[in-house]
Every structure is written in C-alpha cells, then in structure tokens.
C-alpha cells in the first residue's frame, strides 16, 4: 500500500492545543463547526423581504438603523413597509436618529407593527410619542449611550439594517461613493458588530472589493440591491452658509471671545461645534481667532462641515474625526484626505469604551431648547412639553469637554430660554460650564477657574439667576405645560442610568 505523501501523523494530543483535529482536505465536517457559514462568496439576495426572511424576522424583534442619509433616507420607511407586509408586529425600532421624512412610520405605529423606539425620536415621530401613540415608552439615548447599551446587551439588536451608499457582493460598504454618498458611516459600526444579523441595502452595487470600505464583509450577512436608498439633495447639503442673522452672529462672537479668554486657545486646541446656525457661526469666529493668534489645533470632532474641511486645509487643525458628514465638501474630503478620518460612535462618545474622543475635547459648543439656573440643559422637549428632538452627542460631549458652552437666544418668540427648571433634563448641569446668550454670559459657579479667566475681559458676565430674571422681565414667567401621569419617554444618561422621564402631553 502506497502512503499518500500528504498524510501527516498527527498525535491525538499536543501541548497548548485543546482539541486536536487532523486536517482533512475537502471535508466539510470540521468546517461545519466554524462559527459562521463557510466560504461565502455571495451574499446578494434579490429582495429586502428575502433578506429579512433569511434573518429569521419574527414578532417582537429589534431592528436598528443609522441616520447618515438624514432627511433623504428611503431605507427605514421601505423596510418597515415590507415588515408590515410580512405581517410582523411589535417591532422595536432602534434608529440612531429619525427625521421628518420618517413621519410615514406613524401608520405602522398605529397598526401595531412598531411597538416602540429605542434610540432617538425626532420631529413628527416625537410628537406622536408625546401624544401617547406608542405602546411602550420610547427610550432616548445619546450617540455614546446607544453604543454602550448595544454593547452591554441593554439594547439587543436582532437585525441591523445598513443603508449602504456603495457595497460589493461580500458586504463591504463605502459611504463616500455612489449616488447616495453620505460620507462617514460612524453610527452604523456598532450595529454591524453587535447585531445578530446584518443586512446592507444598497443602490450602488460595485465589483468586489469596494474601496474605501467602512463597514466590513466580516460583519455583513446579506446584501440587497435596490433601485434607490436616498434622495441625494436631502442627504447632504451644499455649502452650509454662515448665518446672516445678527442675533446669532452676536452670540457666536461672544462664544469666540469666551474661548479666546478661556486659556485653552493654544497649540493643540480641539473643539466640536455642530452645524446649527449659531454653532457654525461660532466655529467661523473661532477660526478667525486662531488665525489671528497663530494657533494650530489638534482636531475637530463630531459632525463635519465644509468649514471644518477648510480649517483642516488652512492648517488650523491637524485632524478631522468624522462621525457624520454634513455637506458635500465633507464627503469629498473624507474620500481623499488622509487627515480626515471616519470614526465610529463608540470611538467618538462611548463612556464604556477604553477611551473616547469626547474626553480629549477642549471645547464643545452645544445648543439647547432650555437651560435652568442649575445649568441643566433640555434638548429633547420644546417649551410646550412635546418631545421633538433626539439627544445626539449632547450629553457625551458635555461630559467630556473641558469647557462646555451652551448657546441660546435668551428667548425665542415669547418663551424664555433660561428658566428655573427645565421641562426635561437631558444634560446635567455639572457638565455644563458656560451659557452664552445675546444679552449676557453665565458661568457655572462650580467653574471658579474659568470665571477667573473670563473676569475683567469686557465680557457681559452675569449670574444665571439674573439672566433668567432678565428674560422673564421681557416674557413673563411661563407656566409648565400640562402633562398627564403616563410616562411616554425615558431619557437615559450615557452611563445607562435614567436622568429623566417624559410624560404624556394632555
């Protein structure tokens, strides 16, 4: 008998190896023990329905989505329509955020397909929540808090749906190319890593391998090509213009003055400011201050705009850490500039991670729908008590940044924005350092160091109680909106504790 030259004598036991198995070419029995389906060269299925079916969708499951397609998103509505057609009920929706376009989901709330939402509710969906239309209370989490909840199992995702601007047959996904390009896919990383099943839906299927890829074939189970995942002009805007509103500009200038005098505007400076009117203008003012002083910063984090890109090009910052790209310039820059880096929501803001970006921030400029005299901030509910906004990275950046600056007009219309007690506590006062309004600047008395830096610099510093009185002198004291007993929303702090609850409007 001739011995096959490929046969090797393998002992039954070997030091350091727990269960010794001999290799057998072509055998499937050993491969069957591998944790994932073997040699998957194609994950394409022809319909979303088929993908959901293969994912084993059933009543009561949790489906997650990310919001990089913003108000141009077609995926969430598309998937929930199909889920409804399949007769599935009691779904928990776990989006990183929703937009007005998702108002279409409300019929699935009414017909029992959607039971509740965990993550973020915004606009019309929030309004529906406030009026008690969901069976179970919605759970609001920050971007960092959402990651923590998924990682710890507080929020178990059965099926993650990825809106993929480009994908290949193996499920590598790119956000920077394709008709629905949105740039960073930062919020989707954790969903892809932790969901039981991951489905990428794309309108731009490209030959393998698609590059540059963000979400990986190692995590994606199925790829579904569809005609359209988004409406480009509603996904990213053109160049975001700096506001011309003199009031907002005035507040923005004051923010820059605070930053200038804070002692932090030196080489290595880092900041985060949103794409809202005042924040964008504040960035523009800080940009000028940096030029004037010759300061070279380290990074800008969070949602990235064309203005951030310009500051990178000007050498004012070394790096952009991008969890969400707001405009076309940001998308283009992420695609080609190695110093403009995509980051996951965990890397950005997860307090349970071994280190997140917000903890390295010098300054965060954040908005508010209300601030109270203890510096607590409400970003969730409007003055009428209706749930209208998600948390975003608000409580994460506030907790991390060395100086958290809240920008708000002293009143909007006839409502004062600085009040005795916020309707909903989103971000705790001990993480908020300065409130900047057009009529005065209040520094948290807990930040004596900052107060010392800002005093005597010609800034209109005031006690926050005086700021409140000034507002009330103009507007009168607003009464609390009428709430019922039923809890319709739970605001979870980034560490998983509950910081407030929201009751039904009556």
């Amino acid at each position: 008998m001739t011995l096959d030259k490929n046969v090797r004598v393998i002992p039954d036991t070997l030091p350091g190896i727990k269960n010794v198995r001999s290799f057998q070419a072509g055998a499937t029995s050993s491969l069957a023990e591998m944790p994932r389906t073997p040699k998957r060269c194609g994950k394409i299925v022809s319909t979303v329905r088929e993908a959901l079916h293969r994912a084993g969708i059933r009543d009561g499951m949790t489906l997650s989505f990310h919001h990089h397609l913003r108000n141009g998103d077609l995926v969430v509505n598309m998937v929930l329509d199909i889920v409804a057609e399949m007769g599935i009920r009691d779904i928990t929706l776990a989006p990183s955020a929703l937009f007005p376009v998702h108002e279409a989901l409300l019929r699935h709330v009414k017909n029992g397909v959607i039971r509740t939402i965990q993550g973020s509710v915004n606009g019309p969906v929030g309004q529906a929540a406030s009026h008690g239309e969901f069976v179970a209370p919605v759970v609001l989490r920050s971007h960092g808090g959402r990651v923590r909840a998924i990682q710890t199992g507080d929020l178990h995702v059965d099926i993650a749906i990825l809106a993929a601007p480009s994908a290949d047959q193996m499920g590598n996904v790119s956000g920077v190319i394709g008709p629905s390009a949105c740039g960073s896919l930062g919020y989707a990383f954790t969903d892809a890593q932790y969901a039981d099943t991951v489905i990428a839906i794309t309108d731009n299927l490209l030959p393998y391998p698609v590059t540059p890829f963000s979400l990986l074939q190692t995590e994606v189970d199925w790829v579904v090509p569809v005609e359209k995942i988004g409406v480009p002009e509603k996904i990213v805007s053109g160049t975001l213009k700096i506001t011309q509103d003199p009031m907002r500009l005035l507040i923005a200038e004051q923010v820059a003055r605070v930053v200038e005098e804070s002692g932090l505007l030196i080489d290595g400076f880092s900041m985060q400011a949103g794409a809202g009117g005042i924040s964008l203008a504040a960035s523009a003012c800080i940009r000028e201050s940096m030029k004037k002083r010759g300061v070279r910063g380290s990074f800008i984090s969070g949602g990235i705009t064309g203005q951030s890109v310009d500051m990178l090009k000007e050498g004012l910052f070394r790096t952009l850490l991008d969890v969400q790209s707001f405009d076309l310039e940001a998308v283009a820059s992420l695609a080609c500039n190695p110093n403009h880096v995509e980051m996951s929501a965990s890397f950005y803001a997860n307090t349970a991670a071994k280190g997140c970006v917000v903890d390295m921030l010098d300054v965060a400029v954040l908005g508010a729908t209300q601030v109270d005299t203890d510096f607590n901030v409400n970003v969730n509910t409007e003055s009428d008590g209706v749930l209208l906004h998600g948390i975003g990275g608000h409580m994460d950046t506030a907790a991390g940044a060395k100086i958290t600056v809240i920008v708000t007009p002293l009143f909007r219309g006839r409502m004062p924005m600085v009040v005795d007690q916020v309707i909903t506590r989103t971000t705790p006062g001990n993480t908020v350092d300065v409130v900047v309004t057009e009529r005065g600047i209040a520094v948290n008395p807990g930040r004596k160091d900052l107060l010392d830096n800002l005093r005597g610099k010609g800034l209109p510093l005031m006690d926050i109680h005086d700021l409140k009185k000034m507002a009330e002198n103009m507007t009168g004291v607003p009464s609390m909106p009428p709430f019922g007993e039923r809890i319709i929303g739970i605001v979870e702090y980034r560490d998983g504790s509950i910081i407030d609850v929201i009751r039904q409007r009556v």
Binding site: M247, L249, N473
Partner: protein
C-alpha cells in the same frame, strides 16, 4: 441722550417685533425705531402700534431710543406723534425738514402732548433730518429753531435725488451737505450725524467713510445693520496719542482749578475752552470704546 454719545444710530423697522425686541443688544449708542421710509403705507398703523408698545414695555437700558416719525405734512405724521410722544422716547427724528417752521410745528405739537400727558415740557428731543436742497439751504435756521434739537442728520439718498446728483460709492456728491451739517451743528451746539452706508457687506468701505466723517467733525453715523456697529465704533475711537493728550489737558485743568490758577497751560501752550471740550469728548469716546491701545488716528 443717555450715554451722551451717538457714534452709531441703528435703524430698526417699526413693523418687526423681533427686531424691536432685540434692538438694543447690538451695542449701538442710539436706536431709530422707524415708522417712515422702512414702512409701506399699508403697514403704517400696525408699525405705529408696535413701536408704541415696544416703548411702553421693552427696557432698552442705556441705549438712546429715538423714533423716526412720518413728517407732519403726511397723512401719518399727526397720529405718529399722538401715539409715540406719550411713551417718552428720548427723541424723535423729524424727516424731510425744509424750513424752521417744520421743526416749530413739531415742537408745538410735542409740547401740547407732553402737557396733556403730564410729561415734563422739553423731555422729548428733536433730531431734524435734511433731505432736500431747500432743507440744505435753510439748515442753520432749522437747527436753531428749537431748544429741543440735540442733533442734526441728513438723508443721503433723498438729498442727492433732490439736487440731481449722481450717487457714487466715493460720495463726493455729499461733500457740500456734509460740510454744511457739521458747521451748522457746531454753531447750534448739537451733534452732527452722518448718513448711512448702504453696502452692508463692505466693512472696509464703511470704515473709510466713517473715519472720514469723524475727521470732518461728525459725531456719529447712522447704520442699517448690526454688523456695521463695531466698524463705525472703531472708526470713531480716538488714537492712543489723542487720548493721552486729552488726559493731560483734563489733568492740567483739574490742577489749575485746585490751585485756583486763572491761566491754564500745558507744555508751555495755553489751553482754551475748545481744547478742553474736545479733550473731554475724546475721553468719553475712548471710555465708550472700552480699550485704549488700538486707536486709528495715529
């Protein structure tokens, strides 16, 4: 006048509640709540009501509050006075003044309303606006026609249209009226106030014009957008050199007073009253600017 300064007078359309509410937050020395050219005929009554209520309920702090009423020769003037004067604005801006009688008529009406409302006679001041060739010719008589007058202004657009001049960015066509305004204001002992600079995006052009106005002798300039305010204030901020000279003048005066010395001299030169007046004005401007090191007239 509240701060005594009128470096900037910010126009606020009288029919915009939010702008009325926030009129004083941008740091202008003076605000002009406008019932005249910014308001269309159909909005006249609502603007009048809004401005009246704003004067009644909004605290504008140290900002001087003036109202540009419609001329008494129009349908709206009389009613503007009846509603606005009882609210005690610091002053009314009287448009299209062509002769002393225009001011006298307004003065009499204000007196009547003040009396009726128990307001101290003479409280509400008048700032006439010159907007025609005739007004330009009668300028000196106009500014001397009432004790209520504390400043005089001109409307560049109306004035140039009336005299048939071509409006240019350089503004040479306004040389004549500008000089007249300053001279008449000095004779009457009131503020000379320059007209607006229309291009809100050209802050360099605005600065040059405001700086030139200050050199001519103007005390301030009207502005149409809050972002023009810091630019004009910068132009009206004296230099370090001027400030230190002014300080020394005032110091010499104080010293002379203490010593009861009749003759006042600085570095061997006599100091007379106009020098002292100028010095005090420069110190006030410097203090209002809040800083000392970045003067522009070096």
């Amino acid at each position: 006048m509240k701060t005594g300064l009128r470096r900037t007078s910010l126009y606020i359309p009288g029919n915009n509640p939010s702008m009325l509410q926030n009129a004083s937050v941008y740091g202008a020395d003076c605000i002009i709540l406008d019932l005249e050219d910014a308001i269309t005929v159909t909005e006249k009554d609502s603007a009048r009501i809004l401005v009246r209520n704003a004067l009644r309920s909004i605290r504008y702090g140290t900002t001087e509050v003036t109202v540009r009423v419609n001329a008494l020769s129009t349908h709206f003037g009389q009613e503007d006075f009846m509603e606005i004067i009882p609210m005690k604005p610091d002053a009314v801006r009287l448009p299209k003044c062509e002769a002393p009688e225009d001011v006298v008529q307004a003065d009499q009406l204000i007196t009547e309303i003040e009396r009726k409302n128990g307001i101290e006679i003479g409280s509400v001041k008048i700032i006439p606006m010159i907007e025609s060739a005739l007004g330009g010719i009668n300028l000196l008589d106009i500014v001397r026609s009432s004790r209520r007058i504390t400043g005089v202004n001109y409307g560049a657009e109306d004035y140039t249209a009336d005299i048939g001049a071509v409006r240019t960015k350089e503004g040479r066509e306004l040389d004549d009226i500008r000089a007249k305004i300053v001279v008449a204001a000095r004779i009457a002992g009131v503020h000379a106030l320059d007209s607006v600079f229309a291009d809100v995006n050209d802050s360099d052009g605005l600065f040059d014009e405001a700086y030139a106005a200050r050199r001519l002798g103007f005390d301030g300039k009207s502005v149409i957008h809050p972002r023009q305010i810091p630019v004009v204030h910068r132009a009206f901020t004296p230099s370090q050199k001027e400030i230190s000279f002014a300080r020394r003048v005032v110091h010499a005066i104080e010293e002379a007073k203490q010593k009861k010395s009749g003759v006042i001299a600085l570095n061997g030169k006599m100091i007379d009253a106009p020098v002292v007046t100028k010095a005090r004005k420069i110190i006030a401007l410097a203090e209002a600017a809040g800083y000392r090191d970045e003067g522009v007239l070096s």
